[in-house]
Amino acid sequence: MQTISRIGVAALLLVALAAPRGVRSAGSLAGDFQVRSAFVVVDHGVLQLSAHVEYPINDRIRSALRDGVTLAFDLDVTISRHRRLWVDATVLEMTLRRELTLHAVTGRYVLRDEAGVEQESFPTLEAALDQLGRIEDLPILVESQLRGEAPWQIAVRAGVRRGRMPDALRALVFWTDDWHRTTDWYTWMLTP
């Protein structure tokens, strides 16, 4: 039954995607949005990522949060190895996802991981976004997992979108949703 409903949703998406995608501007998420810096250190054989991301902040975001909307913040990290006559080999592909909501009862901005295990609250949006933008010593890979010959390319990209939406529905409104924005890839080469 689940498979049937999934295929049904897929059929709807199929016809929805037959139409051209709408103009996806950064209107709702306007503001500076970039990966300012990122680097990886190897500590005891573990690659740890530190990055500084500047997230946009505007009245629409505040208003949306006040209306109960959840914002999802993704940090995509990939490590790949260049191959001459073939597509690049992907060594690592991971996403750090966190969610930000305005707690209607407490009036505080609550930042939690995707699983909802860890949670922090902040009295202001700025404080919450500042915390979001500071990634420190995030373990991403064990050094021994770096296969193949150096160098490896590390790419970091941040994204913001309106969260707490079923994937199917997200796919359905994908072409009209302007609450989705990503930064350019911030890349650098990793050598032993």
């Binding site: 059929a11 909307v69 009036g107 994937d167």
Partner: protein
């Protein structure tokens, strides 16, 4: 590979591509639904696949429409039915689709709007406010208690402070009570749970609040759904160094029931907020999705309609093509039996019909061939028939004529079938007379007769025995068949036979008494002449002389008859005809020098095999006739010529005797060779009859005609050898048979 095969393969590939693209897109989307990140990655491919599928579908539809239009324009059988079916199906599909579409649009708008009704929003807000109010009461109470407790901690240090903290924590069931010094370091802690590490530094906002002279109170939510209250108040120490610098921070736990209720309100509010954020995009997406679904359904329905119409009309087209093929005579046409429904029954009936038609046609063909064979046989019989046969109608349009008809009438019916008999070229006088007589008979309404018909001709009158009868076939109503034969020779033969009998009887009955008469007359003269006076003696002498002379004359006549009637007893021998002609001619030159006799003899004429004496008689009779015909004619001349002729494989020697006299009288031409027919006052009329008889005894023939420049001409055809005689006799036998049939 021809163009049709390429086109067929192209359509199949296109259809397969569209189908594969659809399936592939569905699979990709089904997988991407599980993971939005995958969706983002695969979205370009999904789009590409969809676009390709849509293009393939569009191309197929366009092709189908073009086929329909082209067939309709070219008036292809069944195209109008197909077009009507497509339009009908299209109309049937479009009307309900549009209704459903409009209704669904309204339903979507109303349905989605109903999710976000003002009452719900207001209710949620009220729930939030209510939760907050309930917690605010507790916040204020805890804050006031904290302030009171902070005053109680004035100047307490060391164990006293710890004891007080412990007592307070137990009394209020606080989770943790911490006293921070002026540097923000925890100087005393009382916790419900054992501390594993140093208490965390005080939050910056606590310091900021207290520095501003305000008490601090905060409500926090935890990851496990619990709520906690943090309150802080400055400790008013009397020691100047500590005054206003120490503060106490107390963590209270909100009761679980209240936390659960507040968390439920929060969660609902958050979900509502997330959903309401996508309200408009959701509506647009649903509208567009619905539009696309309707559009695709419409296209698929039209495609299905075209496909169904073509499937429906294909048997009809086959039937039309089959009917046309049958119309062209292809009776072996069979249609493929594609279904077992009514259309299949129709196709089966058609096949059964063509099968019966083919059998009937084969039967008719066999009958036609039999009729044709009979016709050919009849034509052969007619062509070989010596009797003339003509089939005509009352308007004298010729339908059938055999060769003998032309031969007998002296004309030709070649390529004359279908023409009017009166418009045919008139070859001879007897042809014209025959047609005129026929026309007269038919126009008078007579169509049944059998009688003789005399026709004039240059070589004498011809007698036909002709019979007419009406054809019984209804289709040939008004047609008559005329059968006729030339019985001139037959009649002549009958006459010859009759005259031969007469001559034989005359010779027998008259010749016998003539000798006694002559002897008696001579005896009378001898007995009586001596006893008579001169006058009587002279009278007796004259009388007996007359009797004897007349008896002699009668004897000659009887001899002639006897000669005519005698049985053929020829003594055939080879001799030179030219030599015989020269001899006979020389005799007559001596006898009658007043008549010139010219000879024009063919030096190449071979010796002929005949009865020399009878040929001599022929020559004598003909020359005598010629000389007698020239009596009183100045410059009379008899010209005798010989030549050789070959006809029907047989060689004949031709003797031609011509004179420049008055020629034969016209009324005599048909009877020249009959006995007792003579143009001379004193002729016996047996000369030419004897000639004809001798010639026929030799197997030859004789012809007489008047020369155009004046004078008579008689041609005698004698076979050169016995072999030639046999050949001519074969022809003669055929003539005899014809006579017998006639």
């Amino acid at each position: 590979m021809d163009a049709d095969s390429i086109r067929r393969y192209g359509v199949r590939i296109l259809t397969a591509a569209a189908f594969t693209a659809g399936i592939l897109a569905l699979l990709l989307l089904a997988r991407s639904v599980e993971n939005s990140a995958q969706f983002s990655r695969w979205q370009p491919w999904i789009l590409l696949v969809n676009i390709l599928g849509a293009i393939a579908l569009m191309v197929l539809l366009a092709r189908k429409f073009w086929q329909l239009y082209r067939d309709y324009r070219d008036h292809v059988p069944g195209s109008r039915l197909a077009m009507r079916t497509v339009l009908m199906f299209g109309a049937l599909v479009i009307a309900p689709l549009v209704i459903v579409y409009l209704f669904s649009l309204d339903f979507i708008n109303r349905g989605i709007d109903s999710w976000f009704r003002v009452e719900i929003k207001q209710g949620l807000n009220d729930a939030v406010v209510l939760s907050r109010s309930a917690l605010d009461l507790r916040l204020r109470e805890q804050a006031r208690r904290t302030e009171i407790f902070a005053r109680a901690l004035r100047d307490l240090q060391g164990p006293e402070l710890l004891q007080r903290l412990e007592e307070e924590r137990r009394a209020t069931e606080a989770r943790q009570i911490t006293v921070y010094d002026a540097y923000g370091r925890a100087s005393a802690v009382s916790s419900a749970t054992p501390l594993l590490q140093q208490p965390a530094p005080s939050p910056p906002e606590v310091t900021l609040q207290l520095a501003a002279g305000r008490s601090y109170v905060s409500l926090n939510s935890l990851a496990n759904g619990q709520y906690s209250i943090e309150t802080a108040a400055p400790i008013a120490d009397s020691v100047a160094a500590h005054a206003g610098r120490r503060y106490v921070l107390i963590h209270y736990e909100v009761p679980q029931e209240l936390s659960a209720l507040a968390e439920g309100v929060q969660r609902t509010s958050s979900q509502y907020g997330d959903l309401s954020a996508v309200r408009e995009p959701l509506k647009i997406s649903f509208r567009l999705t619905l539009t696309l679904v309707v559009l695709l359904t419409l296209l698929a329905a039209i495609y299905g309609a075209i496909y169904s119409a073509q499937r429906l009309t294909r048997p009809v087209q086959d039937l039309i093509a089959g009917t046309r093929a049958v119309g062209k005579g292809e009776l072996g046409t069979r249609l493929p039996l594609s279904s077992r429904d009514e259309m299949g029954l129709l196709v089966h009936s058609f096949n059964d019909m063509t099968k019966r038609l083919r059998r009937a046609s084969e039967e008719a063909m066999r009958s036609r061939q039999a009729v044709e064979r009979e016709r050919e046989r009849l034509a052969i019989i007619l062509s070989r028939l010596s009797t003339g046969v003509i089939v005509t109608d009352r308007e004298l349009t010729l339908h059938v004529a055999n060769q003998s008809a032309g031969n007998i009438l002296g004309g030709s019916f070649d390529a004359a079938v279908g023409q009017h008999l009166t418009q045919l070229p008139r070859g001879s006088a007897r042809f014209a007379t025959f047609i005129a007589e026929l026309r007269s008979r038919l126009s008078s309404g007579t169509d049944e007769w059998r009688e003789q018909l005399k026709l004039p001709g240059e070589a004498g009158e011809r007698v036909l025995l002709w019979a007419c009868t009406r054809l019984p076939d209804e289709r040939e109503q008004g047609r008559v068949v005329i059968v006729f034969d030339d019985i001139t020779a037959l009649l002549a033969a009958q006459r010859d036979a009759a005259w031969g009998e007469v001559a034989r009887r005359l010779a027998h009955e008259i010749k016998n008494p003539l000798t006694p008469i002559q002897l008696s007359a001579e005896r009378l003269r001898r007995k009586l002449l001596g006893g008579m006076n001169a006058e009587d003696a002279q009278l007796l002498e004259r009388a007996t002389h007359t009797i004897v002379a007349q008896v002699d004359a009668m004897k000659q006549m009887v001899n002639a008859f006897s000669e005519y009637a005698r049985a053929p007893d020829m003594k055939l021998q080879h001799f030179n005809l030219n030599q015989l002609v020269t001899e006979v001619a020389e005799l007559y030159r001596v006898q009658d020098p007043s008549t010139e006799i010219r000879l024009d003899l063919d030096g190449g004429l071979p010796e002929i095999e005949a009865d020399r004496g009878r040929v001599r008689q022929i020559l004598a009779n003909l020359i005598t006739n010629g000389i007698e015909a020239l009596a009183g004619v100045a410059g009379g001349c008899v010209e005798i010529s010989t030549l050789q002729q070959r006809a029907e494989g047989a060689a004949s020697a031709v003797i031609c005797v011509r004179d420049n006299g008055p020629g034969f009288r016209k009324e005599m031409l048909g009877r020249l060779f009959d006995p007792y027919v003579s143009g001379k006052p004193r002729g016996t009329g047996l000369g030419l009859a004897i000639v004809k008889r001798i010639v026929e005894e030799h197997g030859g023939r004789v012809e007489a005609e008047n020369r155009p420049e004046g004078g008579a001409s008689i041609l005698v055809f004698l076979p050169v050898s016995d072999q030639d005689r046999a050949l001519l006799a074969g022809g003669e036998r055929r003539m005899e048979m014809r006579r017998e049939r006639a």
